[in-house]
């Protein structure tokens, strides 16, 4: 269904090994600077209007706990954001190794076309489960 392969980049292919680590490191520096400044974000408009969290609610608290290396609490506040940060960290490490080794083969995720519809359904279902968790945990 999903598998990782190593292959050379085709001409004009997006440089995933450079763009995403750069943006991730930039985002991490931005978040670190933001938390250092002590500035607060305004309350979520969706939360204010409906009383329910939006899909992004808890993300800032998750990031704040990640900066403080409290991984358990970070996961509870926003599992999706936590997983994205972990995957981005792993990708950044892989990219660093890729550039240091001057590798010609790049790691790519391949989705079997026969399973792409199932994967999309699973993705939407996981968003629903995620939101249900947020509704429970963030409104306790």
């Amino acid at each position: 269904m999903l598998r990782l392969i190593r292959r050379p980049a085709y001409p004009g292919e997006l440089n995933h090994e450079l763009v995403w680590p750069a943006a991730f490191l930039g985002g991490a520096v931005f978040a670190w600077g933001w938390f250092l400044s002590g500035l607060q974000l305004p309350q979520c408009i969706f939360m204010r209007l409906t009383g329910l969290p939006c899909l992004g609610c808890g993300g800032t608290r998750c990031a704040r706990n990640l900066v403080n290396l409290d991984f358990g609490q970070a996961f509870l506040y926003h599992p999706g954001f936590f997983i994205i940060v972990i995957l981005a960290t792993l990708w950044t490490i892989y990219s660093a190794v890729f550039w240091l080794r001057h590798d010609s083969l790049r790691l790519r995720l391949v989705v079997d076309p026969a399973y792409s519809r199932r994967l999309r359904i699973a993705f939407v279902a996981s968003l629903v489960v995620h939101w249900a968790w947020q509704c429970y945990y963030l409104t306790r």
Binding site: P8, Y10, P42
Partner: protein, 294 residues
Amino acid sequence: MQIHVARNSAQLGIFAPEDIIAGLSSGRFLASDLAWRDGMPAWTPLGDWSEFRGVGVPPSPGAAIADEPAVSTIPWEQGKSFSSFFATVKLAIVNPASLSTGRFAFGDWLIFCYVALAISLPFQAVRLAFAPDPERSIAEFLQGFSSPAVQSVAQEMLKAPPAPMGVTIASTIGGLAFAPLLYAFFAVLHWVGQRVFRIQVSVERTTAATLLATGGLILLMAPFQLFWFNVGAQIIISSLFFIPALIIYFKCFGSATGVNPWVQFGISCFVWFVLCCCCCGLPGILLWGAAATR
């Protein structure tokens, strides 16, 4: 064994050899399409594969040209030197429309942005000499106003203890080192905005165009650091240059991405509005945007 096929910088998918033979016969695939399978060192045109030779139509001249990289007229993409750097900045200001021919590989423009920052370093050093603590200088300038509201802001700013010189220098250098990465991060957010409005520009082109426009602007704004000997002059000149700077930035950015500058300005406003109003809503918008533009 399955074969990966790509055409014009986009992957068409993964296919079985018999699908490729059928596709070549029907015209779905071209002999000039690039293909790769496990064990091969590089992507090769389907027409050069021994098992597909003689199948389907010969490569059309148009298709062969389509797979060749576009010829860029941007000096920085033709060769990296200080002269090509300044020629690119000049081109971006004088004739931004010519930027549309660029390849915009992220790595090239990351270097461009670092060069712009390196050139701005002497100006930063002058600023550090005149105003090692800009916040304090601004607060002292604001104290000259009679308005109680401005006075209270100035008092609040003066409360913070001045940072030691070592910390100021380290944070300036660190800021310059990470600045292009920060621009890349905001460029990715802008790309999300483009996706929401169904504008199909690749993330690499968006980030590279951001680095080009920002690099040019850094170079243009660098001399303004010399005005820090007088904070009032610095604030007035920066304010006067703000709108021309926006025009230059979005003309460059619009041309480089092949999108109307006003549209890019609107998307930028939208992204910043969302970022300021509900920072955490961005992942939700990304998911919605990605789903809507499938």
